[in-house]
């Protein structure tokens, strides 16, 4: 029944999916936090930049961003992120770049929603003892905000896992591309779909359950 799987590297494809997810998650967490800091900061220009970034990036389809990073950055402008002529590596890195650019807008909003749950008194008390804006933000507000943001950030992570399939559009050998390939060559549509669907359920459902539990555990009881 599973004979047709021999010529295909299903686990390898899902490993690529996981790699895409983890690398983009780390990147977008860093860039998203910086964006959130800009958006709540005292410098008007940075606030404007953060707001503009989020509003622009959130409203462009991820597919456009990923396709642009391959056709625009790589093919037209020869930006390969240090991969040289190795098309596969370049596409992988560009896909990660595209995912970071897109996901960080949502990470920024998730963290901002976390910041909104921190009571005003926390920041006021921090200011009253003479902390500066950076100290208030990074020592008092963000640590509490992150704990409240675990839930929204989990949603972003799950969506990111699913969004890595968009990298199939530029030929990164991950699960959705493998599925497309298999479906075209083998006459086992339902079985193939079930395997791929099962793989994604294995990635997303535990993430949701585990991080959902973590989120409840670390949330500040108020």
């Amino acid at each position: 029944m599973f004979d047709f799987l021999e010529g295909y590297d299903v686990l390898g494809a899902f490993w690529t999916t996981v790699q895409l997810t983890l690398l983009s998650a780390v990147g977008s967490l860093i860039w998203g936090t910086l964006l959130a800091a800009m958006r709540v900061g005292p410098v008007p220009l940075m606030r404007g930049f953060g707001t503009a970034y989020v509003n622009i990036v959130r409203n462009i389809p991820l597919t456009v961003i990923i396709l642009f990073s391959s056709l625009g950055l790589y093919s037209t402008l020869s930006i390969s992120l240090g991969a040289g002529d190795d098309v596969d590596t370049a596409n992988f890195r560009l896909a990660v770049l595209g995912l970071i650019v897109y996901t960080s807008a949502f990470v920024c909003e998730a963290i901002r929603s976390g910041i909104n749950t921190v009571p005003v008194g926390q920041a006021e008390a921090a200011r009253a003892i003479g902390l500066s804006f950076t100290q208030v933000l990074f020592l008092v507000v963000l640590p509490q905000a992150f704990r409240a943001a675990v839930g929204p950030l989990t949603n972003v992570l799950i969506a990111l896992t699913k969004n890595t399939t968009v990298a199939a559009a530029i030929g990164v050998a991950e699960a959705a591309l493998l599925m497309k390939d298999m479906v075209e060559k083998e006459a086992q549509l339902l079985l193939i779909s079930a395997i791929i669907a099962f793989g994604f359920c294995c990635l997303t459902l535990p993430t949701g359950l585990i991080l959902g539990w973590v989120g409840k555990k670390v949330a500040v009881k108020r």
């Binding site: 410098v43 940075m46 959130r58 037209t76 402008l77 920041a123 399939t165 006459a187 791929i196």
Partner: protein
């Protein structure tokens, strides 16, 4: 917490520091802009010939390529929304049922389709129509895109409906039961009408997700929508990839930004309204990038 709570009213030194930060940020931004400009210039991507089809006053590019593509995008999005809404309502209400044999299957269906990427559902749809139906190969991409979007969004909308109904005050259904209504009547006449209003902003912002996801059809399933027309155009107008993508991206931004703004306006209006119970499912309550599985809530 409002933004200003994080920092004090600025004195002379803080103001000076702000000016310094602003200046540094301007320099960084300018460096970025200059880098982008020189990269584009080096590859001759700023030649007027490449941008002329869009900015030169001619309408050919718009009438021949962009509008037909946009039409397909909007058609797929509208079809997906119209089919997914009733399905989502049924699934959402089924999840609230008192009967285990209704509640559990509905929950499984919803969680399953939310756990799977839309692209996988679309690829499945394309192969399904090709192998098991006689839908013509021209229509298949549209069918596949709409099928994928419906399966996914019906389950997201189901969560929105469920959250919308749960957001209503308990007194509503209690009062309805107290005057002798049946469960069915309570849902149909009392809860659903109020929940629909409460859900409107969330539904509109889900439309943004749908519009964005139609682009997948263009990139992977050869569905001739807006993004696909960008590739066609850059072939036709002489490799103006940057220009074509910029124009298409701007169109997406305009459509989605107006939808998002409409949703926020609607939300504000509903929140201010005095007649209602005050239950509103906001724009923030749907995760814009596509809900989440396993966490069990959309709100």
């Amino acid at each position: 917490m409002s933004k200003s709570v994080l920092y004090d009213a600025q004195g002379p030194r803080a103001k000076q520091r702000n000016i310094l930060y602003t200046a540094l940020f301007v320099v960084a931004l300018a460096a970025l802009v200059w880098w982008v400009y020189s990269a584009l210039d080096e590859k001759n991507q700023l030649d007027w010939a490449l941008w002329k089809p869009y900015l030169g006053g001619g309408t050919e590019a718009y009438t021949t390529y962009i509008w037909p593509g946009l039409e397909n995008t909007l058609k797929a999005a509208a079809l997906a929304m119209i089919i997914a809404l009733p399905l989502g309502a049924v699934l959402g209400i089924a999840r609230l049922s008192d009967h285990v044999w209704v509640r559990v299957p509905a929950a499984i269906v919803v969680e399953f389709f939310r756990a799977i990427p839309v692209l996988v559902l679309m690829i499945f749809g394309l192969a399904l129509y090709a192998q098991y139906t006689d839908v013509s190969s021209d229509d298949r991409p549209l069918y596949a895109v709409v099928t994928g979007l419906v399966l996914y969004n019906a389950s997201v909308l189901a969560e929105i409906v469920r959250a919308g109904i749960l957001a209503l005050p308990k007194g509503q259904s209690e009062a309805a039961l107290a005057i002798g209504m049946r469960k069915n009547q309570v849902m149909r006449l009392i809860l659903l009408p109020q929940a629909v209003t409460a859900m409107l902003p969330a539904i509109v912002s889900q439309l943004v997700v749908i519009v964005k996801d139609t682009a997948l059809g263009g990139a992977v399933l050869t569905f001739p929508e807006l993004l696909a027309s960008a590739s066609t155009m850059s072939g036709y107008y002489g490799a103006n990839t940057i220009a074509s993508f910029t124009v298409v991206a701007v169109i997406y931004i305009v459509i989605n930004f107006s939808l998002t703004s409409f949703a926020s306006w609607l939300e504000g209006r509903l929140r201010r309204r005095k007649k209602s119970t005050g239950a509103v499912l906001g724009v923030q309550d749907t995760t814009d990038i596509g809900g989440a599985a396993g966490t069990g809530t959309a709100a």
